[in-house]
């Protein structure tokens, strides 16, 4: 970990192995120690006291690099008919339990794989593997979100099958993962009944970025003051087109609708691949 700012670049692990640095730019992005010298630029001599200052127009999106990797991931998914979902929520909303129950309910009817994102430990990947599904853990170290580069490397290690489902469980965090496209077909936000109905208003970026909201732990509604209709109303104040499904991963209520949504997405991705199969799929080459 960086002792100056606490950031964790360089600590990212994928399946326990260090993340390969990006080959594309050949530039290490981490902060430099003070006094490490200027590595860049072509230093040319100036007459003392004379410097020429000028403006250069850049007009570049700050997230352009992540978006470039996300685009490559999306092309990879699309060429292989893979339906990829990015599951986002606060910690403790029940994402991993939901994934375990989803995999068990699909019962081998679809080839699938899981990428798990957490700051530390591989316990979530272990829980997924116990179902028999392949899972790879990304540990972000001090990082607060998955990015498209990490996912690109992880999915290559997973050897994804054509026409399969890829479930990406992001780091439990309702803020940071909203801005980082991973190349997924949809972000799915999970809000559990033990949280507040006002979460969509408090964390609007995430609810705006998601296409589907799962209201989880609905089996607990009789014991809570949580109003699921209000939660949906609040989410639609941010994102009028967000779809909502009430579920309970524990009791199984609402799971059929969620599974049908997944299966329909998988069929769509597979059909699109067959339609484009006349054009040879190009492999994603990465360093």
């Amino acid at each position: 970990m960086c002792t100056t700012c606490g950031c964790g670049s360089g600590e990212t692990l994928i399946g326990g192995r260090a993340l390969r640095r990006e080959a594309r730019q050949g530039v290490h992005l981490h902060y430099r120690q003070p006094g490490a010298g200027q590595a860049l630029g072509h230093q040319h001599a100036h007459a003392p006291g004379i410097s020429e200052s000028r403006m250069v127009s850049i007009e570049r999106d700050i997230l352009a690099k992540n978006n470039g990797y996300a685009r490559e991931n999306r092309e990879y998914f699309s060429a292989r008919g893979i339906f990829a979902l990015n599951l986002v929520s606060s910690p403790g909303s029940g994402k991993t339990t939901l994934l375990v129950k989803t995999i068990q309910a699909l019962n081998g009817s679809l080839p699938l794989a899981v990428i798990e994102g957490d700051q530390q430990t591989d316990s979530d990947a272990v829980r997924i593997r116990a179902t028999g599904a392949p899972a790879l853990q990304i540990n972000t170290g001090k990082g607060c979100h998955l990015d498209a580069h990490m996912v690109g490397q992880a999915m290559q290690q997973l050897h994804l099958q054509d026409d399969s489902l890829l479930l990406i469980e992001n780091v439990g965090n309702l803020v940071c993962p909203a801005g980082f496209d991973l190349g997924e077909a949809h972000k799915v936000v999970i809000l559990s009944a033990t949280e507040g109905e006002d979460k969509p208003l408090k964390y609007p970026d995430m609810f705006r970025a998601a296409d589907l909201m799962l209201l989880n732990k609905c089996d607990l509604l009789p014991y809570l003051s949580f109003d699921p209709d209000l939660a949906v109303t609040n989410a639609r104040r941010i994102n009028p087109s967000i779809r909502a499904i009430r579920i309970s991963a524990t009791s199984g209520a609402g799971m059929d609708e969620w599974l049908a949504w997944i299966v329909s997405g998988c069929h769509g991705a597979a059909a699109a691949r067959r339609q484009h199969a006349v054009v040879p799929a190009t492999a994603v080459a990465r360093g």
């Binding site: 430099r32 120690q33 200027q38 630029g41 999106d61 990015d147 969509p200 941010i238 009028p240």
Partner: protein, 113 residues
């Protein structure tokens, strides 16, 4: 703290441009940040100061141009100002608003020598 990732991305864009322009020093970095963008400006400034240490932009000023939020109200069929994603339409009070401006995070220009 995804602002650290954003600051690192900004530095990379700056360094790429500095290399292309053969400059020796970056004096200012000018960003456009939308009012509705998923970023906390003070945190971004803090992270920027940290990541540029020892780089060609080590003493660069960070200037942020605020871009106001704007949306298209589907009920009113008109463009309306939007200060936050959860705000209702100031005309009809509805929430059927499609954001049209204010989510950008861009490096607009650099002052170099």
């Amino acid at each position: 703290m995804h602002e650290m990732s954003l600051a690192e991305s900004i530095l990379q864009i700056v360094e790429d441009a500095a290399r292309t322009e053969n400059c020796t020093r970056v004096k200012a970095v000018r960003l456009e940040i939308g009012q509705l963008a998923n970023v906390e400006q003070e945190a971004l400034r803090f992270c920027f100061d940290v990541v540029v240490r020892g780089s060609i932009a080590s003493d660069a000023r960070l200037e942020i141009i605020d871009i106001p939020g704007q949306g298209w109200c589907l009920q009113c069929s008109r463009s309306v100002p939007l200060a936050a994603l959860y705000e209702p339409c100031p005309v009809c009070g509805g929430h059927q608003i499609r954001v049209t401006q204010g989510e950008q995070m861009r490096v607009r220009e650099l002052e170099i020598e």
